[in-house]
């Protein structure tokens, strides 16, 4: 008993302090960070910092507001240190929701910007990463979008687009393995300002290695690319022009909800060392709107299915030719060649080869539902 008491007292004496405490009241949480080129080779950092409102303590629920701050530096860490001199409190990057890269900056090697994020354990690796249409600074300077603080709004837009298969689910963490992989490239969501002074996803920025190629895919095209790469969320929506012969525009289109069923990517190596790839996709489709006709008979359904298949495949071919133009091996054909034909891979310069190989997409659909009417 006496022993225990002594032990407890010792514990009390030695275990009172904590070296690593980090109290919320002392910190300034950064929630959105944008990087741009400053011109003289330095980085220009725009930071959205979340602070409690001055007069909010009386109202019970503390209100918060955004403060946009700018800083410069040769490296992200230096610009952060410059920023820390200004911020009233400890600058905390561990809750960053989104990182934005300016378009011009993204065209250079982007890994050096992220190195510090991977190295320092407190950074949030699950933060989203996007490319700005123009400068990152312009987006964050909006401060409030649709009555939401800009970084929150940005995150919401990204998340809902992810759920609709408009853009891939990318975070700082998920990009890293691909940056390091020679046999695969990636794309980042591209976000710009809309006419209503809101934010808008304008497409998918295609990267080659660590650099932005300057070539974007539109939203519809991005969805197709995601489906080709087996990356879709629960479903993807398409507006397809299946009846170009109709005069009224509204009658030309069908709107479908597509659900993934089967995905198959095969690599072939011909005798003369030519690589070709074939992507076979099977989708289940719900017809959401087909103003032209009803779909009561089997024959009509078959004709429509055929038209949808053709239209989707045509689009897929276009998307693939765009990725080849950008030299962005989004489907990771390179890493499959590396895995299955290592000898061929050793001889190849994949950057030279990818734009020249033949990739054949084949999309097959099956209409399984037409809504509550036929």
């Amino acid at each position: 008993m006496k022993k225990t008491t002594i032990l407890l007292i010792i514990c009390l004496l030695i275990l009172t302090g904590c070296w690593d405490q980090d109290q919320l009241k002392d910190t300034r949480l950064a929630v959105g960070v944008g990087y741009d080129d400053y011109g003289n080779g330095e980085l220009y950092q725009t930071t959205d910092i979340r602070v409690p409102k001055l007069d909010s303590s009386a109202t019970g629920r503390p209100a918060v507001t955004s403060v946009i701050m700018h800083s410069t530096g040769a490296t992200p860490r230096q610009s952060r240190m410059n920023l820390e001199k200004e911020v009233a409190g400890n600058y905390a990057p561990n809750k960053v929701l989104v990182y934005i890269l300016g378009e011009e900056l993204a065209k250079k090697d982007i890994y050096p910007i992220f190195d510090v994020l991977y190295r320092y354990p407190r950074n949030s690796l699950s933060a989203k990463i996007v490319v700005a249409n123009g400068r990152a600074e312009d987006l964050l300077s909006l401060k409030v979008v649709e009555e939401k603080l800009v970084s929150d709004a940005l995150l919401k837009i990204i998340e809902s687009a992810e759920n609709d298969t408009f853009i891939p689910r990318v975070s700082i963490q998920s990009v890293c393995p691909i940056i390091f992989n020679e046999g695969q490239d990636f794309g980042l969501p591209k976000i710009g300002k809309s006419d209503n002074d809101a934010l808008k996803i304008t497409g998918l920025a295609l990267f080659n290695g660590k650099k932005y190629t300057g070539i974007d895919l539109g939203e519809d095209e991005a969805s197709i690319l995601l489906i080709l790469n087996n990356e879709e969320s629960k479903m993807a929506r398409f507006n397809l022009k299946v009846n170009p012969e109709e005069k009224r525009k509204i009658l030309q289109y069908v709107t479908v909800h597509a659900f993934p069923k089967k995905h198959d990517l095969k690599i072939k190596l011909s005798n003369n060392q030519q690589i070709s790839a074939e992507v076979k996709i099977k989708l289940k489709v719900h017809v959401a709107a087909y103003p032209k006709d009803n779909l009561s008979s089997k024959k009509e359904l078959q004709t429509l299915t055929k038209k949808i298949n053709e239209e989707l495949t045509r689009k897929a071919e276009h998307v693939i030719s765009e990725t080849q133009r950008a030299n962005c091996d989004y489907l990771g054909i390179g890493k499959r060649v590396q895995a299955y034909y290592p000898k061929t891979w050793a001889k190849l310069d994949w950057n030279q080869t990818y734009p020249t190989i033949k990739i054949t997409p084949k999309i097959q659909t099956q209409i399984i539902e037409t809504g509550i009417i036929k």
Partner: protein
């Protein structure tokens, strides 16, 4: 005899806990250095190698029923050389303990507590270790059995990693590294499988037939190898080749990237409870070193050596601070350990066969 007996199932859990610990976090990284994407094959090879070691230990222990290595060495080599061997096991125990503590403090400093002085962490680890290590074998074995729940928890956490984009093509092609490289990789994994040498010290205290014990030992090794294999494959599929080469703790890094609505930094939560399996490795070697010291200097009692050996470890651990030193220390510990898990048992076994268990003098 100062130790109480343990059951066969407890033997299984003691071996599993002795092996699993801090090294689980870095398996694919170390093996990947040599074997590249074939690191998972290295894990299997290492498992087979360790199985051979265990077989040698088993044959040795079977020949000398009711004796630990400390007594066998004296029977076979005579009192003086025997004591020398026992003393070397003492030093080995201290060496590995220091290694465990150093790695442990280092990993916690880098991942969670950046500004906390290492001395404090080393102190806390050793203090906890003493608390368990001074108990008798049965208590230790019971505790190790409970701790296995945590391994199960790790599995549950790892399921979330399947929400990442896994690309299993990273594991191919098989020809990406030569067999020599795979073997080199497996020597790295072998050091992660260390801990089974506790068999040399607890074998006589297990209740059961020798054959049953061999079965339990084999299944323990197999369990650990399967767990390692699972994590090697999972992390290799998560990270690409060049990335894994710069991530020393791939399992932690993988967990860090996961994100849930309520919880972030799963790696911290994980590391906080993984401290327990890491401490069990410390306790295993504390047991080894203190048994050796007890046998030689204290008539078989481990009470005193537990304390002064721990203080010695504290002193050693105190001097290692920078990353390169730690790496070198870790490397040499792994090399030296081969003598103790393989060299000495084999040597003793051969001598016992030649001299029909009676020893050199007889």
């Amino acid at each position: 005899m100062n130790e109480k007996s343990i059951t066969l199932n407890q033997l299984f859990f003691v071996i599993v806990q002795a092996q699993i610990g801090i090294s689980l976090l870095s398996i694919p990284f170390k093996a990947h250095k040599y074997a590249k994407g074939n690191a998972w094959i290295s894990v299997i090879i290492a498992g087979l190698i360790v199985q051979i070691f265990v077989l040698i230990i088993w044959m040795l222990m079977k020949r000398h029923k009711g004796k630990t290595i400390l007594e066998i060495s004296q029977t076979v080599l005579g009192k003086y050389i025997g004591n020398l061997v026992n003393f070397s096991y003492l030093l080995y125990g201290v060496l590995v303990m220091s290694n465990v503590v150093i790695l442990y403090a280092d990993i916690i400093e880098r991942w969670i507590l950046e500004t906390t002085p290492k001395t404090v962490m080393i102190f806390l680890i050793i203090a906890t270790g003493i608390h368990l290590g001074k108990q008798n074998l049965r208590v230790i074995a019971r505790f190790f059995t409970i701790v296995n729940v945590l391994v199960f928890l790790l599995f549950v956490l790892s399921f979330f990693a399947f929400s990442n984009n896994l690309s299993f093509t990273n594991l191919l092609p098989i020809s990406q590294s030569s067999f020599t490289d795979m073997f080199k990789g497996s020597t790295q994994v072998t050091s992660a499988l260390l801990g089974f040498e506790i068999l040399l010290f607890i074998f006589p205290f297990v209740l059961g037939q020798e054959k049953q014990m061999l079965k339990k030992m084999t299944s323990a090794i197999a369990t650990v190898v399967i767990i390692y294999l699972y994590f090697a494959v999972l992390t290799l599929a998560t990270f690409s080749q060049k990335e894994i080469a710069i991530v020393p703790e791939p399992v932690l890094y993988m967990l860090k990237g996961l994100n849930f609505r309520v919880v972030e930094r799963i790696d911290m939560i994980f590391l906080s409870y993984w401290i327990i399996p890491m401490t069990t490795s410390f306790v295993v070697y504390l047991y080894i070193a203190s048994s050796a010291a007890g046998k030689m200097f204290h008539k078989g009692k481990r009470k005193y050596p537990v304390w002064y050996l721990s203080i010695l470890v504290f002193g050693i651990a105190y001097f290692f601070s920078d990353a390169i030193q730690i790496q070198t220390f870790n490397h040499y510990t792994a090399v030296i350990s081969l003598i103790f898990i393989f060299g000495i048992p084999l040597f003793l076994l051969l001598l016992s066969i030649i001299f029909k268990n009676r020893g050199i003098r007889a």
